[in-house]
Amino acid sequence: MTLFRRLLDDRAFLAGAVIAGVMVLVALFAPLLTALAGQDPTTFHPELLDSARGGVPLHGITADHWLGVEPGTGRDLFARVVYGARVSLGVAVSALALQLLIGVGIGVAAGLGGRYTDAVLSRLTDLTLAFPLLVLAIALLAIVPQSWPRPALLAVVIALLGWGGTARIARGETLSLKTRDYVSAARVSGAGTLLVARREILPGLAAPVLTYAALILPSNMITEAGLSFLGVGVRPPTPSWGQMLSSATTWFRADPMYVFVPGALLFVTLLAFVLVANGVRRVVDPRQREVLR
């Protein structure tokens, strides 16, 4: 109750939440929105391009094309960024779900397990945390067959390589929670490890893990955009902001709008999610140690 009240008092959080909410809605209702605009993200409009000048759009923003069209193809930019939101958010959210699943599972197992289990799992966590995952992600994404569904694959790769932070937090919390006397009390009463994990530990993990999760979401979005930017992420014609930015680099001067639209959207969305995460973190635990890295 009061948490909620405090969140609502935080103006930065509110702004972030509103924008993030709008983006989520945009992603959810992408087909509807583009239909409203009378466009779709894949139809080419060669007639709107100046082929002699490399395919730059002939017009900027028009009544038909609310943000103009993509150079080189003439596809509707508005439709593409709207659908891009789907990929960006979809990949980030599914990766997040997987990360939490893996991270909490491993973290709790390490925290509750014996010395040996803990040592092995902790080392593993440290390794994934320390290793420059972009390197492995690129290698991994480059060698899986192209026919595999890309967004799903991206989510899995991001999750597989990025559960370390969650695991560490979950383990740390578990270690601290398990020394709490109420856990001892449950065990004195005869509760087994699984029951203890479910009833006493997991609810306690919710706050710190979710606070952290709020932070990984934008970070996942950045990873997705980065991988797509490098050309190992989402493939055309599926639109993704990172990939649009990547193609936009060749249109720097000829069509700045093309750089600006996905870039600004990505930035604003990320900022919104970071603001939300920050607000949540401040409210849930004002003195929590810095988890942002």
Binding site: D126, D181, G204, R293
Partner: protein
């Protein structure tokens, strides 16, 4: 001559008025005690003397040696700090900078106020360390705080206070974090320092026993105001204010002895437990007889908690066996043994309702809908049935401990192990909870193991007592026998160190300790019988391991 004169001091933080019209005087060279329960504004007052409050509203007057401190400039205050008024803080663990050597920290203060050379400052640091009885001060001055034990750190803080020959030493709960024996040493040291340097002492504590032997005058505070003030002898012996009387009454008193007929219910034989290289419990053998209350007492780190957790099967022993009515305890958990924990805050899951927490053990033994039963239990421990749906944070410390007791009682155990169940409670609440436990024990004919570091509490509640020292059993016996004729040197030391609220008795004990210390110092070898000098420093863990942070993992810290 009046050194410090506080008039109508008011300190407010936002909506709370921490100190509300406090006035007192302190003579040069005198000793004034301030007692009061937690939150009564003691620390706030102490910090105000040095102008250390950041965001507080401070009104009234603090006159130190002719200088008005409430309106003083930052420069004036800085000159006073350390040189005029020196503070000894409550938490020796954190009050010293972990990054600097102890000697350097003291020298820094000295140089700052006297402008002495580096060398002179270092020498002064060694000198004051010697003055507070740190052995081998030259070497110890080069140590980091984490290489010191708690007692030594507190000594170092006192040394720092002495460095600039202040006229007033303010000690804010200087012994709260320390063991009884160490506490006695520190109090003795403060007393010694006061006579040696002529500095006045403002001693703050919530424990009547602490101020009783060390101060000439005392003020009793409650909610930011003085309830009673006067000479220590008079206030603590013939209190006038009702609140002071309550405080004194809450001090535990011995209860009449009982005769226990029961046979051994819980048998602990040859049990040891090691953590890495450290032996926490060392070959302990003892019986808990059916129907008795067995007290376990000992200093911090003596292994009390480890032993009690082994008794309920939470920690498996490395060696030896623990049986409950003949069966291995590891298999008899749940129904027959329960535990009450020290910290009422952490012993309840903050995310579950009180009733749910109590219901767990019942569900585990097959009671599907135990609400009615639990409400009855809640009433029995002095709560309302409606508390079933409360969350722990909505309850006070005492209420939470009642819930803890209710949970332990729920599955109708035969044995309850209580690990310091009242240590974190206020004196008055402590008395109520103890009474509740005693009532319930009688009513249910429970067997109880009661772990505490507080000898006075044990004397009131236990039938027999086990004194633990360094993981081993030093002495076992009936309460009266152990308290009146302690056999083991360590038990004697422990008993001698108990602070008593009676000022005259307190001073008599201090004198006794002095004589023994002097005797030990003279003879060079500790008298085995008195043993104070020999074990005194050892008890502080002079050479024990200090803070030992986690080894760094591959990527720590974040």
């Amino acid at each position: 001559m009046t050194l410090l004169s506080v008039r109508d001091l008011r300190i407010g933080f936002g909506n709370t008025q921490a100190v509300d019209g406090l006035s007192f005087d302190l003579e040069a060279g005198g000793a004034l005690g301030i007692v009061g329960e937690s939150g009564s504004g003691k620390s706030a007052t102490a910090l105000a003397l040095l102008g250390l409050h950041g965001e507080a509203r401070i009104e009234g007057s603090i006159d130190f040696d002719g200088l008005e401190l409430t309106g003083a400039s930052e420069d004036q205050l800085r000159a006073i700090r350390g040189a005029g008024i020196a503070m000894v803080f409550q938490e020796p663990l954190t009050a010293l900078s972990p990054f600097h050597r102890v000697g350097d920290q003291i020298a820094e203060v000295y140089r700052l106020h006297t402008g002495a050379t580096r060398k002179a400052a270092r020498e002064r640091a060694v000198e004051v360390l010697r003055q507070v009885h740190i052995a081998d001060p030259e070497r110890r001055a080069r140590a980091y705080p984490h290489e010191f034990s708690g007692g030594m750190r507190q000594r170092a803080l006192i040394a720092m206070a002495l460095a600039c020959n202040p006229r007033l030493i303010v000690a804010d709960e200087p012994t709260t974090a320390l063991d009884v024996t160490v506490q006695a040493q520190i109090l003795d040291l403060l007393d010694e320092v006061r006579t040696a340097t002529g500095a006045a002492l403002l001693l703050i504590s919530h424990d009547l026993g602490v101020v009783a032997g060390s101060t000439d005058d005392v003020i009793v505070m409650r909610r930011g105001a003085v309830v009673e003030a006067g000479a220590t002898d008079q206030v603590l012996v013939t209190p006038r204010a009702a609140y002071t009387k309550d405080l004194l009454a809450a001090v535990p008193k011995p209860s009449p002895a009982r005769v226990i007929q029961g046979g051994p219910l819980l048998r602990v034989s040859g049990v040891s437990k090691r953590f890495r290289k450290f032996t926490a419990v060392d070959d302990v053998t003892l019986d808990v007889r059916e129907g008795e209350t067995l007290g376990i007492v000992g200093e911090s780190g003596a292994g009390k908690t480890t032993l009690s957790r082994m008794m309920v099967g939470l920690i498996p022993p490395d060696r030896g066996s623990i049986t409950l009515a003949g069966a291995d305890i590891a298999r008899r958990r749940g129904r027959s043994v329960q535990m009450v924990f020290q910290d009422p805050m952490s012993s309840l899951n903050p995310r579950r309702t009180v009733g749910e927490s109590i219901a767990d053990p019942l569900r585990l033994i097959g009671e599907p809908a135990p609400r009615v039963k639990i409400e009855a239990l809640l009433v029995r421990v002095g709560l309302a049935p409606s508390h079933y749906d409360s969350y722990p944070h909505q309850l006070s410390g005492g209420m939470r401990q009642r819930v803890g007791i209710a949970r332990a009682l729920a599955p109708s155990p035969r044995l309850i192990v209580c690990d310091e169940p009242v240590s974190s409670l206020d004196v008055t609440t402590q008395a109520q909870v103890l009474a509740l436990l005693e009532d319930i024990r009688l009513e249910r004919e429970l067997t109880m193991v009661f772990v505490t570091h507080d000898l006075a509490v044990l004397r009131q509640i236990a039938d027999r007592v086990v004194v633990m020292h360094d993981g081993a059993v030093a002495e076992v016996g009936d309460v009266a026998a152990v308290y009146d004729q302690p056999q083991h040197a360590y038990t004697k030391e422990l008993l001698a160190a108990i602070p008593v609220a009676d000022p005259i008795e307190a001073r008599r004990r201090r004198a006794l300790r002095r004589v023994e210390l002097a005797g030990a110092g003279l003879s060079g070898s500790g008298l085995a019988g008195a043993g104070l000098a020999g074990t005194g420093l050892a008890g502080t863990g002079l050479d024990g391991a200090g803070l030992d942070p986690e080894p760094l993992g591959a990527t720590q810290p974040e």
